[in-house]
Symmetry: C2
Subunit: 452 residues, 2 copies
């Protein structure tokens, strides 16, 4: 690899100015869940990109607009960078030590809503570009940014946006919004996300709640209907009973398991952090627990609602009952197929009265851990972080990476400066400035090396 | 029967003054659920009884005090009258056409919280006593009143109160708090109440809610545990699966079914009023529906709570889940026995993690429809109401009559002036003054005839 001392030195010297730009960005509230400040924030993003010579535009969608920007470079290779300018709601406000939209630096950290997730991830990447432009006067490759405003509300319009802009978004590789180090300060490379199919199941058995002394013996009870229907979805053995549910499941490869084996055991941490007495399926820990956590599809009840839920007793037979259920999907399950099988199953089991409302979904998406771009990102990290970057072939969560992986056919990598106490989605969200510098330096190396 | 024209004439002539006394009683808020005005109201009740020459006392309990009063009469037979001075909360206030604690007469009705349930039932009975005392100067029999202040919050201390005062409450027959006419203006004689065993089932599987992307595949899910546990309690065939649940069930007698056959068919009314599309257990209507409604024990889910219940989706695996469940009991099931069997069943099914919280219970209680006191009350109604009183051997609801029937060994009858639009427990609760007069006249006849 090349000598990056000049890039590093630029980044170290210009930190204060860059942090001022980040502070301005964080001080603009942009809460997608509350439709607050989104257009104003998109405008700030556009200006930050234009300042670096990018052609930037604000593209409307059926929801919050997407900021798209591009700048050509020496080679014809193109790097696509995905970020989002929206943030989580700041509530509960009373738990913040400094106001969420007044970014504040204390003891080497900057605090503010959205500072980690993921406004600083954008500015760190812009910082890397600044360093390269300062050194070379031009970019070594084409760079495109796609920066959406609905990531914190499930990116509901992003898939359509990608499909409508396949040419515009054409690229050779993609850097995902965030990344970071674990508790050992080891940078992590998360390469796959499970898919999701989120539904609400609801039953209405009567037009009104009824005194349970009257209805209990003779009227259908919505809560019972729901319980019986749910019981047909998954048994106590944790096996999903919907016919065909597992048909399209691709099991982890030997290579996947090799990667999972290198990760630290999580059993004790999960037990103490979440109060788990016993894992399900007889799991004890080790690689089996780690593999099960991310490579199996799930059927999770996220919520139950029916009838009286206050203190003490109320003798009512509920007219309505509903459950929130999420299915985490693995390759190559799809939400559309699972929905179809769920409906057919409920009908076959006599639960045509159970209505299904689809609340969102996306298939799983994985990037090959042996893709050359992954190797490049891992290699570049070696010059910056204290420990070698570790590859995690799949994580249990979900996100909007599917169209990037499967429609744009890009390897998608994660890199960034998150850390275990970064408090994304919680009060006192913060970044560590030492890690922020590392991410900027890492990004500069990746951009510099990408077209070589 | 005797000539009651003098009693009737007294009641008609003194209506205005009696209604003033009722209005004063209703204007004193006495909301047991909110611990509002109970002592003040008990004092008013004591004064009303003392005005009629009763020896009255306010007896403390672990909850609201009970007003006990007695006055001797010519014979040594004793009539016990049960009422309550507490009322339901008045909320929602904005739906009242006149303020709930400012009793108002409009178009032959008096409106106010608690006016029907059951403050006017007490004053109508006092009105009957006034008429008899005016005519004869003394009572024909001993009369005792037991007037509690916790009926609207499940009479939690009444059973103990009765047990601690068995001698004091000794009597030959009991008039229950309320009664009334149905939509045909036919007075109804409700002679049995199902028992109840109300529990909360709760599960805690983790110390905190967890992101469903993490927990779904490896952590126990409280909502699933609850669904599976509930599913073992009752199957889709509506048969309760707790071993021994039906052991102590006494089926209805041929005489019971004879009474039930005389009642109007309710199928169409239930369908239109409650939006029932199909009754459970293949029931279509007729006597089968009526018998099933009241003579079978139930297991009803009254409420379900777990995890996320708001709009849209939240990907959370809930740490806690709970259900409110009521079992309506028939003779000779008991709450204590059902609780024991429920715990044993859950343990046997592997659900020791499901906690049971007992929220209240009372066994069923029935009065023999062929008891002479029932005949007396029915006969007396004939001289007052337009239609003959109809006997209902059992209703589906529950109430605190068990210690009166089974500890004091009393026949317990219902009589009163409720009617289908009386709106007990709802805004604009009211009584029809024409029916109020009928109840007072009916009560006067029952008291006069009781010791003959």
């Amino acid at each position: 690899m090349s000598d990056y001392s000049k890039l590093d030195s630029y980044i170290e010297k210009n930190l204060d100015e860059n942090l001022k730009e980040l502070a301005r960005y964080v001080s603009q509230p942009s809460v997608s869940a509350q439709n607050l400040g989104l257009n104003e924030c998109a405008q700030i993003v556009k200006e930050m990109l234009e300042k670096r010579g990018f052609a930037a535009e604000i593209i409307p969608t059926d929801g919050a607009p997407v900021v798209f920007a591009e700048r050509s470079g020496k080679s014809d290779k193109t790097l696509l960078i995905y970020n989002h300018y929206d943030v989580q709601p700041p509530e509960p406000l009373e738990l913040w030590e400094s106001p969420p939209f007044e970014p504040t630096i204390r003891e080497g950290k900057m605090y503010g809503r959205g500072v980690s997730d993921d406004k600083s991830h954008l500015t760190a990447r812009l910082f890397a570009i600044d360093a390269i432009l300062e050194q070379d006067g031009e970019l070594p490759c084409n760079i495109k940014f796609v920066i959406e405003g609905e990531e914190e509300t499930s990116s509901v319009h992003l898939h359509d946006f990608v499909m409508q802009n396949l040419d515009k978004l054409k690229a050779d590789a993609c850097i995902w919004e965030f990344g970071g180090v674990d508790h050992r300060e080891t940078p992590m490379q998360y390469l796959g996300l499970r898919g999701i199919c989120y539904v609400e199941l609801s039953v209405e058995s009567l037009s009104t709640d009824v005194h349970s002394g009257l209805g209990g013996s003779i009227f259908p009870n919505a809560a019972w209907r729901l319980v019986w229907a749910l019981n047909t979805l998954k048994g106590e053995d944790e096996r999903v009973r919907i016919p065909g549910f597992y048909d399209d499941v691709v099991p982890p490869t030997a290579r996947d398991i090799e990667f999972m084996e290198k990760l630290p055991d999580v059993a004790d941490e999960y037990k103490s952090r979440y109060g788990v007495k016993e894992f399900i399926k007889g799991l004890k820990g080790g690689v089996n627990l780690k593999v099960e956590e991310v490579f199996t599809p799930t059927c999770t009840i996220c919520g139950l609602t029916s009838g009286y839920q206050g203190a003490g007793s109320k003798t009512v037979q509920p007219a309505r009952a509903s459950a929130k259920v999420d299915f985490r999907l693995v390759p190559t399950q799809t939400p559309a197929d699972i929905l179809k099988k769920l409906r057919a199953h409920l009908d076959a089991q006599g639960f045509s009265d159970v209505e299904i409302t689809f609340l969102g979904g996306e298939p799983a998406a994985r990037t090959d851990p042996d893709h050359p771009f992954v190797k490049l990102v891992v290699d570049c990290a070696a010059g910056v972080f204290d420990a070698p970057m570790v590859i995690v072939p799949m994580v249990g969560g979900s996100g909007p990476s599917y169209p990037f992986v499967h429609e744009l056919n890009l390897p998608v990598v994660t890199m960034g400066h998150g850390y275990p106490d970064t408090r994304a989605h919680a009060p006192n969200e913060n970044i560590r400035i030492d890690l922020y510098l590392k991410h900027a330096k890492h990004a500069a190396r990746v951009i510099a090396e990408f077209s070589k």
